[in-house]
Amino acid sequence: MSDALLSLSDVEVGQALPPRTIHISRASLVQYTGASLDRNRIHWDERFARSVGLPDVIAHGMFTMGSAINIVCDWLGDAGRVVEYGTRFTKPVVVPYESGADVEVTGVVTAVDAQTRRATVELQAMCGADKVLGRAVAVVVLG
């Protein structure tokens, strides 16, 4: 990534951010389980996940949310300038043992406020045909 901070003059409404595919393996979920302290067994124990009616292990919604914002941070050049970030968790990301799962993250600038130097980015996160984040919106402060 570039270390240069994105400036107001570089950004316009409709601009697309560089997209990214996040590959999620069981190892990713175990690592996030440890870091986040969210140790719910549905995120790492297949037998348990099935016993509560899930098709398989599912990713933490917060893992998907926390990973998706990286396309904004890298585009912006400073993660500390993400001042708002929210989403709905619309569909679980099912993570099979063999293949893992791929989440395609894209983002578009939907608003730019020259006065406050703030831009609004709407993110989309798709796992196959499923939209896994809904109304995922970040607000950033530009240079």
Partner: protein, 148 residues
């Protein structure tokens, strides 16, 4: 057991201070695949004007979940944790969470709604330093699935 609707508006006492450490910031950043050096290298973080390494945008969930736990573990609230699904999450950062911060959270139950056998609880955690400086407002919606 139904979720207690009368909990709307309830505020809990501040949580014990959470000491934000460099290694935890790095560990969390690595776990979500963040690459910005501002999470890893304090020299570069200082060059950008921060006091030390700063947390990724969703790190605050570590502290917000401690706040939510007060409600979930409150027997009078009637929440069955095994039926809780995370519905929504939002963060408003007043400034980045920085290594060395000691953060307390104050939990308020913004709303409790019952709909179609499910309950939706929206909580707000106001995170601030022990010195009273606002750091982050974290809002969560928890969906408590009804029985079969």
């Amino acid at each position: 057991m139904a979720v207690n609707v009368s909990f709307t508006g309830r505020t809990y006492p501040p949580t014990a201070p959470y000491a934000v450490g460099r290694e935890k910031i790095r560990e969390f950043a690595e776990a979500v695949g963040a690459h910005d050096v501002v999470h890893f290298d304090q020299v570069q973080a200082r060059a950008r004007g921060y006091r030390d390494v700063i947390a990724t945008p969703t790190f605050a969930v570590l502290i917000a979940q401690k706040c939510d736990r007060q409600l979930i573990e409150d027997p009078e609230a009637g929440i069955d944790f095994s039926r809780v699904v995370h519905g929504e999450q939002r963060f408003v950062h007043h400034r980045p969470i920085t290594a060395g911060d000691e953060i307390v959270g104050v939990l308020t139950v913004d709303s409790v709604k019952q709909a179609g056998g499910h309950a939706m609880v929206t909580t707000r955690s106001e995170l601030s330093t022990i010195g009273g400086e606002p750091v982050c407002t974290a809002t969560s919606t928890l969906v408590i699935r009804g029985g079969e």
